[in-house]
């Protein structure tokens, strides 16, 4: 009670703390930068000059950095208006527009970085899972930080519901890290020349599908850490959807490469003697 009272006194003296100052400062800077480049892009001459000298790439990187830091503070600071201690949304406008700004800034930066380079569908999908897994891990850390002491208390075993909540949060931890590790592994292996890579990819995608089909129920169901709308809820469903898309795409690739190829090969072997 004394600690709470101290916080009250401190906050009542200074309602705008450092985090809040940054939450105002960072979007202001993002507005200035994006408006500057918007007007720069309006005229072809200035736009070409900025693209040629990589000014737009630098500007998009700075803009994305501002939004990354701001998003982290918005989602985890105590004085944030967007979410509370359990990651639940309080002010929806701030939550959604923060994510929208950060996502658009990221896409903008990627478009300047990867300009002229071809994209692979599966690489993009695995990268998406990697990013969403990071969001998921961050959200679970946030929840776990608030309930850790209670979950380590032995008296929690007497209460079935809260014991279940703790167990499901631990499961969410493992699921998030599994998604992260698998996606990193697949992205690294994609660069290396490996035989039967499609087999590895289809196995990994099926593991992800199974894990998150079951995990989405545990995490976002009643008594799960992501039962209310927030980062963890959206991230878990996002990983599930991308896992299903990856599973289907990998299976198509696998069947094209192995199952259909065997049929083609068999017909070709029959025809070979006639040609020779």
């Amino acid at each position: 009670m004394e600690i709470d009272q101290n916080i009250d006194d401190e906050e009542s003296e200074d309602p705008i703390d450092r985090s809040l100052q940054w939450m105002i400062f960072a979007p202001s800077m993002a507005i200035l930068i994006s408006s500057f480049f918007f007007f720069l892009t309006l005229r072809p001459q200035t736009y070409y000059f900025a693209v040629k000298h990589k000014i737009t790439l630098l500007g998009s990187l700075i803009n994305f950095s501002f939004w990354c830091s701001n998003l982290f503070i918005t989602m985890h600071a105590k004085s944030s208006f967007a979410v509370n201690g359990r990651g639940e949304i309080i002010t929806a406008n701030q939550y959604y527009f923060s994510w929208a700004s950060c996502s658009t800034s990221f896409l903008n930066f990627l478009s300047y970085l990867n300009r002229g380079k071809p994209e692979s569908l599966l690489a993009v999908l695995w990268s998406a899972i990697l990013k969403i897994s990071l969001v998921m891990i961050s959200a679970i850390h946030h929840v776990w930080g608030n309930i850790r002491d209670n979950c380590r208390d032995e008296s929690i075993y007497e209460d079935g519901y809260h014991h279940l909540f703790c167990r499901r949060t631990e499961f969410a931890f493992y699921a998030g890290y599994t998604g992260f590790v698998l996606s990193v592994l697949l992205l690294v292996l994609r660069v290396c020349p490996i035989n039967h890579f499609a087999v590895i990819e289809v196995i990994a995608s099926f593991i992800m599908m199974g894990l998150f089909t079951f995990g989405t129920y545990l995490i976002t169901g009643i008594d799960g850490p992501g039962q209310v709308v927030g980062d963890l809820y959206y991230a878990t469903w996002g990983v599930l959807v991308f896992s299903l898309v990856i599973g289907e795409t990998c299976w198509e690739q696998f069947s094209d490469q192995y199952l259909n190829a065997e049929n083609d090969e068999s017909t070709y072997q029959v025809e070979l003697p006639e040609i020779s």
């Binding site: 600690i3 009542s12 100052q21 979007p27 309080i90 929806a92 701030q94 658009t104 094209d256």
Partner: protein, 591 residues
């Protein structure tokens, strides 16, 4: 594999096509490197387009929508049943969470009498089962039965053709071979497949209608649930007090955790989203099989006229106006529901009843710091804000409903004759602009801090959806007006005029380079340098992204400043500007 082959083919194609006007060898190589990527983009769409075209078929008659309805109904029932099993836990969450967060309170505060606790558990469990039976069982089972019947009927009638069709169409779209067919919806409507679908339409439309009725009833019962309030002479002050501060969790029981009494998403978010998905799919299927062909037939009278009007746009916009009306009605109902709660709370405050601080256990966030302060005039300042903004929400909903209804009438009048066409279009344009402004300005107060739609819920989504719909209609109307004023002699079939318009748009930066035909490329090559062409290719996309970032950042900043203004108003008893200007700007920006 397929993508790689397509890329190689398209790269080869680009090399051969640009070879003719690049005489020098070095230049030829440069041109190849510069422009081949654009040709790749033409044949291979972006990742998002690939995923969307694969999983979301454009025609509502596709069996996939019925499968979606079946799955969403099933998942709604599943998560509702899950909530019934955990009903006791949902109720106790409030106590346990408070216990977690305020361990410093006196021991024994949360101890209950064992007998009363058991009775309470049984009571809650019975209430949850009753809710499942009365509100959720009917729409979910109806949706599953109707969609299951339609799926089996379609499979029996047409074999498995429907299941494979969207995937094949998506693949064809990805290779770009079916572009000419997709560009002309009127010719598509006359295809054999469309005629088959028209024959099946009444039956399927009736199934969609029944499903939408069932889900409409279910949504109405769930989302506008009656609060679990202590009524009558048996209630005392303590009951009222508990109601005020625990209503957010206790009142989730009438909807099994989908929403609380304020219409915000409750502790069972899955049930909330899947119920709404089922309802939207049912209404879309009902519209797609009943209203849509009827409106399409009305407007097809104007196809033979020389006016440059897109009948497809009209048909889609009728559905958009109906969606807008439904959203406005939802805004009105939910805000009226919240109004009653706020009025109850306000009356309680006017009654000068005192609050016991130990009973106030709220979230561990910034708001709780304010609420725990005894001397803070929070309620006297915060409640009027909520009060006024809820009034604004009700007016906004009523105004939006009126505007949408008039627009539907005006839109309907479009199909009655050519003479009424320009007037109806202008009326629609003005109405959509009015609604856009109404939901832009009033919606800002409603969804801002202290507003009834501050948090995620029915009112927030309905307000935002109406705002976006009215923006889309406004843009569509402007496009129609511009097309209506294009001279008749410039038609799409006229090759000279088409290429002229393309070159004109290309110079303005609104048409990508890869959509031009070969003579246009040659002529453009003669007047524009290759650097300029590169600029033209990328500039529109970059322009859109920077504009979006600026817009989203501005909205985010506005939301923060709105919250800060309320905090400062409550905490320091000063207005926002007098506090912000000398302190915040200097401190945050320069120090």
């Amino acid at each position: 594999m397929h993508n790689k082959n397509r890329q190689e083919e398209s790269t080869l194609a680009s090399f051969t096509s640009f070879e003719s006007f690049s005489p020098a060898k070095k230049k030829k190589k440069f041109v190849f490197q510069t422009y081949s990527r654009r040709t790749d983009e033409e044949s291979v769409p972006s990742t998002t387009q690939q995923i969307l075209s694969r999983y979301i078929p454009k025609e509502l008659s596709m069996i996939h929508y019925w499968i979606g309805l079946f799955l969403s109904s099933f998942l709604s029932l599943f998560f509702a049943a899950d909530a019934v099993l955990h009903c006791k836990g949902m109720y106790q969450d409030d106590d346990q969470d408070n216990n977690r967060r305020s361990r410093s309170l006196e021991e024994g505060y949360y101890e209950y009498n064992d007998d009363s606790e058991e009775e309470e558990e049984l009571d809650i469990q019975a209430k949850c089962i009753q809710v499942l039976k009365n509100k959720i069982l009917f729409p979910t089972v109806s949706g599953m039965l109707l969609s299951g019947t339609v799926i089996s009927f379609l499979i029996r009638l047409n074999g498995s053709k429907h299941l494979k069709e969207p995937l094949n169409k998506a693949k064809i779209r990805m290779t770009g071979r079916n572009q000419s067919a997709m560009q002309n919806p009127i010719q598509n409507a006359e295809s054999l497949e469309q005629r088959e679908q028209k024959r099946q339409a009444p039956l399927l439309g009736f199934a969609g209608f029944l499903s939408s009725i069932a889900w409409g009833r279910g949504i109405f019962a769930m989302m506008l649930n009656e609060p679990w309030r202590c009524r009558g002479n048996d209630c005392n002050d303590q009951d009222d007090l508990e109601y005020v501060f625990r209503q957010s969790t206790v009142d989730e029981i009438p909807s099994l955790g989908a929403v609380n009494s304020m219409g915000e998403v409750g502790s069972n978010a899955n049930l909330f989203y899947f119920s709404w998905i089922s309802f939207i799919l049912s209404v879309s299927l009902c519209y797609g099989f009943t209203c849509s062909p009827f409106v399409h037939n009305h407007n097809s009278l104007d196809v033979t006229s020389n006016k440059k009007l897109s009948m497809h746009s009209y048909r889609v916009r009728m559905g958009t106006w109906i969606s807008s009306t439904i959203c406005c009605l939802v805004v009105t109902f939910v805000s009226t529901r919240i109004w009653r709660e706020i009025v109850a709370f306000r009356e309680y405050r006017i009654g000068q009843k005192s609050f016991d601080d130990d009973t106030i256990e709220l979230e561990d966030d910034f708001w709780s710091i304010i609420l725990k302060d005894d001397d803070n005039p929070f309620y006297s300042k915060f409640l009027p804000i909520m009060f006024n903004r809820t009034q604004i929400a009700i007016m906004m909903g009523l105004g939006g409903t009126t505007i949408s209804s008039i627009a539907i009438l005006a839109h309907w009048y479009v199909g009655q004759g050519d003479a009424a066409l320009p007037m109806a279009l202008w009326v629609e344009l003005v109405l959509s602009l009015l609604q856009f402004l109404l939901f832009g300005i009033a919606g800002w107060f409603v969804t801002g801090s202290g507003g009834p739609a501050q948090s995620v819920g029915v009112l927030y989504y309905a307000t935002m959806a109406t705002f976006l719909i009215s923006l889309r209609i406004f843009i569509g109307c402007i496009e129609e007006v511009i097309e209506a004023h294009v001279p008749v002699n410039i038609s799409e079939d006229d090759e000279d005029n088409t290429s002229f318009k393309k070159n004109l748009n290309m110079v303005n930066g609104s048409t990508p380079y890869h959509s031009m035909d070969s003579p246009s490329i040659v002529s453009a090559q003669s007047i524009l340098s290759r650097n300029t062409l590169e600029v033209i290719n990328y500039r529109p996309g970059d322009l859109r992204r920077w504009a979006l970032i600026a817009t989203f950042s501005s909205l985010n900043l506005g939301s923060i400043l709105d919250s800060v203004s309320i905090i400062l108003l409550v905490c320091t008893n000063t207005t926002f500007c007098s506090h912000l200007c000398p302190r915040l700007l200097l401190h945050a920006f320069f120090l």
